[in-house]
Subunit: 518 residues, 2 copies
């Protein structure tokens, strides 16, 4: 396509493209915008190497050699990029980016801009929805690396899940590169690698103050006897390989002791084994952390484990034991969390992998990149599908707020229209349905675009990931609850000015062929 532009003498025509999507993901009515920092990094480095050009020469159909000289000169020096701030809440049809520059060059950027925006925004939105489902009090940990699209897909997932509201990741490289808290527990393999208490018979642990040191296995077996009668289980029936594994883990991490308790049987083995070791740790001045459940009925098992924690806490008069952490994993999705909430459960945190990073409920956000203007003249793309018709011309976008601080409506205008003013009545129209119109008197107006790239350099300082994460959180708070609820949320309104409405429809009619019914 670039070659055909070049050969048609369109190298220097200035084009304007909009990047937007047509539908919020996951049946929801909001999207979190992410990926801008990577887009700007890409613009800073965009060029074709000699080796790229050699490759292109080898695969293109017969092409004039001068085109490759042109490709060598291609850069982003004449590109301007306006965008919504990363981490903002965004809505369908509102362009999150407006890119201006020489037609073939903007076109060459298309796929990469889409690639860097689509998944980033999708998975950040998914993470935000998990957060809304779980509430702010629960820990949400991203465990998705093994199911992502390769190592880099996994890094993107960790980064943008954190942006969307997760608390940490098990992806250590993501922790290192993006300064995300890393969290994890042990796996079943750690448990099954031990077979009996012989393996840990020499394991000792010093008390927290260093005053004494005990043999862990001996003390643990004593405690297992004691709690078994309280919990009405048979101490001989707990798996002793598992018990050995927990003892080894306690010796390594006495202050962050969290065990996976479902390798053999949660209630008859994992939970009492965990409690026995925990009580030794307690006697040595440490506070055990809790357990992870990775299979079975998570509502039932978490309640059962919580009851055991409370019973032991009461019997032994150790208050905090009642509140030990229960983490759940195992193929959890947004619906699972809603269902658990409805049933009642005792889970404090979720480790979520597959459904989070693959966005199983809807694995792609349909961002597109559409030409809306060339050489100052507007362009429209019609389509066999009406919802695929584009809004022509460069546009500005404003978010209008109500008196209580909530976002009311987004308003797209022609570039040369004056911005709406706070306190002044403005007519907002549905972009396609003629009769859908309303007057709004906003209390506050927020222009959504900033100029991020021009004159070969960044025009704004890029915030840190944690700041983008905070921005996303604040942005979500400004969206009304009914737009955010999981079931049948109310659509947020995206509107156009009266002038833009007429402009779109005049151009539409001018370009649609009139046929003959036959």
């Amino acid at each position: 396509m670039a070659y055909a532009y070049w050969k048609s003498g369109k190298m220097s025509e200035t084009a304007v493209f909009d990047l937007f999507f047509r539908k919020n993901p996951f049946g929801g009515e909001f999207t979190i915008y992410a990926g801008l920092s990577e887009v700007l990094k890409f613009l800073s480095n965009f060029r074709y190497s000699e080796c790229d050009i050699e490759y292109l020469r080898s695969v293109l159909p017969p092409t004039e050699p001068a085109f490759f000289d042109y490709l060598k000169t291609v850069s982003t020096k004449d590109i301007k990029l306006y965008a919504v701030e990363e981490g903002s809440v965004i809505f369908p049809k509102v362009p999150v980016m407006r890119v201006e520059g020489p037609l073939p060059i903007v076109q060459l950027l298309e796929t990469t801009l889409l690639n860097l925006t689509n998944y980033a925004s999708l998975v950040a939105t998914n993470a935000a929805r998990f957060r809304l489902a779980a509430g702010n009090q629960k820990a949400l940990l991203e465990f998705g690396l093994r199911r992502a699209q390769g190592p880099d897909g996994g890094l993107s997932a960790s980064r943008y899940c954190y942006l969307g509201g997760f608390d940490g990741t098990s992806n250590v490289l993501a922790g290192k590169l993006f300064d995300i808290p890393v969290k994890g527990t042990h796996a079943h393999a750690f448990v099954t690698s031990f077979t009996n208490l012989e393996e840990v018979k020499h394991a000792t642990l010093a008390s927290k103050t260093g005053a004494q040191s005990v043999n862990l296995a001996e003390k643990t077996v004593e405690w297992l006897e004691k709690i078994s009668s309280i919990l009405n289980i048979i101490p001989g029936e707990t798996n002793k390989g598992e018990l050995a594994a927990f003892i080894a883990y306690a010796a390594s991490f006495p202050s962050s002791f969290l065990c996976l308790v479902d390798t053999y049987d949660v209630q008859r083995s994992g939970m009492p084994n965990f409690l026995a070791v925990s009580l030794v740790l307690h006697s040595l001045g440490y506070r055990p952390m809790g357990v992870r459940l990775d299979s079975g009925d998570l509502a039932y098992l978490s309640n059962s484990v919580r009851r055991a924690f409370m019973t032991i806490s009461m019997e032994l008069e150790i208050d905090y034991l009642a509140d030990l952490t229960i983490i759940a994993s195992n193929d959890i999705n947004e619906d699972t969390i809603h269902s658990l909430n409805q049933q009642g459960h005792a889970i404090d945190g979720f480790g979520i992998g597959t459904h989070l990073v693959t966005c199983q409920k809807q694995p792609a956000l349909g961002c597109v990149f559409k030409l809306v203007e060339v050489g100052g003249l507007p362009r429209i793309k019609l389509s066999e599908d009406v919802e695929k018709v584009t809004m022509p011309g460069a546009k500005n976008v404003y978010r209008l707020y109500s008196q209580d601080g909530h976002a009311l409506v987004d308003l797209l205008q022609r570039l040369d229209e004056p911005a709406p003013k706070a306190g002044e009545k403005v007519l907002v129209r549905h972009p396609f349905h003629e009769s859908k119109r309303a007057y709004v008197s906003p209390t506050r107006i927020e222009p959504l675009y900033k100029l991020y790239w021009a004159n070969e350099k960044l025009q704004e300082n890029l915030p840190h990931l944690i700041d983008i994460r905070n921005h996303a959180k604040q942005e979500l708070a400004k969206i009304r609850e009914d737009h955010k609820r999981a079931l049948n949320p109310t659509p947020y309104k995206v509107s156009v000015s009266d002038r833009l409405y007429n402009f779109i429809h005049d151009l539409w009619l001018a370009n649609a062929p009139i046929g003959e019914l036959s």
Copy 2:
């Protein structure tokens, strides 16, 4: 986990892990194994840098300093990796990899091995299913980069879709790196960037022999008049910006002229505009290629376009025009292709993006990595979910073939059992259901594992991508049709030897706690 292993003195214990999945993806009964080359590349380079170790030191709970000295020495020199050949057809429960080596080191490899196997195998399988749906005569082009999980996710998608049977990709970097044919057409933006014929009034094209040169716009307008009466459309109603774009495209690519014809209206604009330019190209000795449809009812539109091609071909007596290529895109998934086949269509090839690379129907393959042996002793993981119970001990796998060359059953055995022999009756058992047993007399036996990594180096030459692709094709041919069909396919049998069956169940009973009903 590695720290706890280290601290428990398990650094040198030899462990055996199996990598396998429990269920074929997409409701199917087969999976294509992919990702092995990348796994081997990873093993060749695995180590912790000083900077990695510094980071780990900063985030781990209190840890003995000597552990970090140990981490510096970690390498794959004592690792052995057995695997099924890349591109093979594989089935649930059969480990595609057996990894042996020091327990903590194999454990440290886990997530990366899973990451490199899961998505690769999933998307290769998806591609193979699209190929089965479309048949071998259709062109299948991967257009998914914009919807993949970042640039690297896009590269993986292109690579493994080609492996699974696609013909090419629009991802130019994937073409360059992996030697995949690159294919693409132009976008709607190319069409909308032109507004009228003035823009191409000087465009000329020399005939293929160079004997003459014509003004393209003038000749095209003449042809548009001629074919309009044949096709019963109004020549003045075709969009002249679109016509200008097609003319510019023809001037650039006279020998590979393929146009996107749905920007304004396929039947009243795109198709006649395309044909007018095509007839000019024909008169100059070139052969136009065809059209792409990207919206609307693809069955109806493709038939309508084909009829127009046939009409013009007959009227003008130019045979090949009847057979011009029709490519379809627009959110196509496997079910769309089956539905199109059922309705009848005239599409020659599909450009497939979103649903292919995101594997929308099931966006993750659930590969897991389970410990089956430590220090020569078998390990079993029980679970609240019976289907999550693992098969203990290092195993060998054989595929047993029938006389007609089809795969009959996969057989897992203990490592020290003699391989089954062709022509000899063998008892195969369901791994978990006691009564499901059968005798098989295979005509041919194929051991599925090769040793790929040992003694710090590759043990096999790695095939090129095209060879893996061919292997996958041959492998699929050996699988019975009923295992491959889209609707209610027959499950392929995966079995264990009698000795392995008893071994599993003895260990299961020995590890499962007996409770008390109350």
